[in-house]
Amino acid sequence: MGFLADVAAFFGDRASWRGDNGLTQLIAEHLAISVAAMAVAMAVALPLGLVLGHLGRGEMVAVNVSNVGRALPSFAVLVIALQLSSIGVTPTLVALVLLAVPPMVTNSFVGVRNVDADMVEAARAMGMTGRQVFAGAELPAALPLIMAGIRTAAVQVVATATLAALVGFGGLGALILVGLRTGDNVEVFSGALAVTVLAMATELGLGWLQRRLTPPF
């Protein structure tokens, strides 16, 4: 297994971690753009989905937006965003936000909409105002589904941030791309391994959080 030994040596070598295109910096870039994109997307998608769900309006749009989102290849979204602005951070951020918004809108809408009608009635009967019903009954009951949407979006953002290397943004994708172009399989594999670990950590970490936030009933 000479190849895997080379990969291990790559991760073991301090020089791979340091400097301008070192692992430390690439991981930091990858995380920074993912977190930024998720922050913007959550600020847009969650209020929109929750309010529409609470009011029961715009079902067609809220439910179908994620189907449309799935049909758009993330690669194409990224490249088209690049055409709209200059190379680097902006198109990447725009594309990632565009991809993260649909699953969160749909899930928060469906989450609030599908809260047991009897429970909402009961909350109203107890004299809660619309706002109190939302905060005290609908939101907690919808939380698991909202979290599932955030998790789907976050995993997709981390994954797509890899492609961002193609439009001149760094991140771990840069390691894969440079490796593919120079035929350096060790670099390709190491970059891919690092991204996979990052995506897994996102998926499992948010999955854990989702279970923690799910009320035990």
Binding site: A71, P73, A76, A159, V167, N185, A199, M200
Partner: protein
């Protein structure tokens, strides 16, 4: 948009669209071939259900570019590499939908079939599967649409169908192939979705009235 370029490269565009479709169909069909036994096993032995789905979920979470890249040292820049990755992404969607679909068959119906003397394979094939078809087709639709999008990423290992046009446009900073590649891959996804809905209606005539 440079329409002259489009006219001059028409046969290339058609070839790439065909390759795109071929890779998608191959991936979804292979995905189905693998998912059916997995879903049936998960249904037969309940304890397998959550390990099978978690394993498929883990595969699904691997970024596409990374999965292609992880395979390159072993299978090279070949179509096999693209296919292995694409098939792995279909597994989660298909296994989950097939299992859910079969679970949704009312137990009275299965029992009636058994009472009529059907053995498990025939009951599965003539009673349970047809009833599970809407859920199965829903899974095939999602898997197909997702795969069409993912094929574009395989351009980086040289087997991206219409993604090749996107990559070419990106590398040469030439907008036309980029727009053509993106637009056609979205159009392909939309068409595939509509065709699959048609297929479902064709095979479930009893469900047509309630649309």
């Amino acid at each position: 948009m440079d329409w002259e370029w489009v006219g001059a490269h028409r046969s290339l565009i058609v070839d790439l669209a065909e390759a795109h479709l071929e890779l998608t169909v191959l991936a979804v069909v292979l995905g189905l071939v693998l998912s059916f036994p997995l879903a049936l096993a998960a249904r037969r032995w309940r304890r397998l259900y959550s390990p099978v789905l978690s394993a498929a979920g883990v595969l699904y979470a691997i970024p596409s570019l990374a999965l292609f890249a992880l395979l390159v040292p072993w299978t090279g820049l070949t179509r096999t590499t693209a296919l292995i990755a694409l098939v792995s992404y279909t597994l989660l969607i298909l296994v989950r939908n097939i299992a859910t679909g079969l679970d949704g068959v009312p137990s009275e119906v299965s029992e009636a079939a058994t009472a009529m003397g059907m053995r498990a394979p025939r009951r599965l094939w003539t009673v349970e599967l047809p009833l599970a078809l809407p859920a199965v087709v829903a899974g095939i639709r999602v898997a197909t649409v997702t795969t069409i999008g993912l094929v574009t990423v395989a351009a980086l290992i040289g087997h991206g169908g219409l993604g090749q046009l996107i990559l070419d446009g990106l590398n040469r900073d030439f907008r036309t192939p980029l727009v053509v590649g993106s637009a056609l891959s979205v159009a392909l996804a939309a068409t595939a979705d509509v065709v699959l809905v048609g297929v479902q209606r064709l095979f479930t005539p009893w469900a047509r009235r309630d649309g």
